[in-house]
Amino acid sequence: MSVHENRVGENQAGENRGGARMRLGLWLPLAIFAALIALFVHGLLRPADTSVASAFVGNPLPQFDLPAANSERPGLATAAFHSGKPRLLNIFASWCVPCAAESPQLAQLAQSGAVIEGIAIQDKPQDLARFLANNGNPYAAIGKDDDRKVQLEIGSSGVPETFIIDGRGVIRYQHIGDIRPEDVPMLLAKLKEAGA
């Protein structure tokens, strides 16, 4: 059966080479068009992800020594992350609405034993005091980063963002945006992983 078909194919091949080329010429543009439509539909249906992930995860934290953002907590320096215990580094600001939204989750993380260090971006001491009074203060220390020096150094592109730093000061994970209730177990697991 297949041998017979092959022979027929061979016979026709010589005579129909021009025809086959024409058929290809007819169908190829349509195939390219269909492929493009498929690509566009895929692009349209895929949810847009406009967050810029840090390319700096896996690197040690840069050297910094930030002054205290207000009188309630001390400032924050790189040395704090070399204690052997993994920590969360929360980048936030009192003017940032999602930062207030994630405060119950930060409180829950702190209750579960996570040490949370904070960096306040372009904040005023009195604004920060009001923010902490309203939303709770889960931070061990809060550094003041007015020019976003440290934020740029670690490839963070906005507030809030939460980094997991292991006990040797190496950035292990970056969480972009506010921490939702469903993110808490995942972050605790990552924190545990960073401690091992």
């Binding site: 810029v52 390319a55 005023k124 020019d147 740029l152």
Partner: protein, 145 residues
């Protein structure tokens, strides 16, 4: 009567003039305090070099604008970082690499030569070669017959 309308005019003027001052407060964001966010470098050569680099760097917040165009607070801080480094004598491409190490290739509008981007640079050459071959085919045939 005349006095009243003059007062109304003054009140309107005051309102219009104060509007731009009130807006940043409503925007709920801290204004960039970085020294060179909205200030040019004193040396025009350095400023020109900084500007040339800044128009090719993406603002990570409003992502289709360069940091030179964007009014996002983080863009101001990125401008200040770039200008400070240029003033310190750092090479612009070195600053670009510093940012790419932190934000990935996405932060640079100028594509980098990497294994994944070689078609970008090879395609024009390939298309020119193909066009040359096609043209030679056409015109070569024409002169022979």
């Amino acid at each position: 009567m005349k006095h009243k309308s003059a007062f109304a005019l003054a009140a309107t003027l005051a309102l219009v003039l104060s509007a731009p001052v009130a807006l940043p407060v409503l925007a709920q964001e801290g204004a960039p305090s970085a020294p060179y966010a909205y200030r040019q470098l004193p040396d025009p050569d350095q400023e020109a070099r900084a500007k040339a680099l800044m128009v090719t760097l993406r603002c990570v917040m409003c992502q289709s604008q360069s940091i030179a165009d964007s009014d996002a607070p983080i863009a101001g801080d990125m401008r200040s970082e770039v200008r400070t480094r240029i003033a310190a004598g750092e090479d612009p491409e070195h600053i670009r690499q510093w940012l790419i190490q932190r934000y990935g290739d996405y932060v640079s509008f100028t594509p980098q030569v990497k294994p994944i981007t070689w078609p970008l640079f090879a395609a024009p050459v390939a298309i020119l070669l193909l066009a040359g071959l096609l043209l030679r085919g056409r015109f070569g045939k024409g002169t022979r017959t």
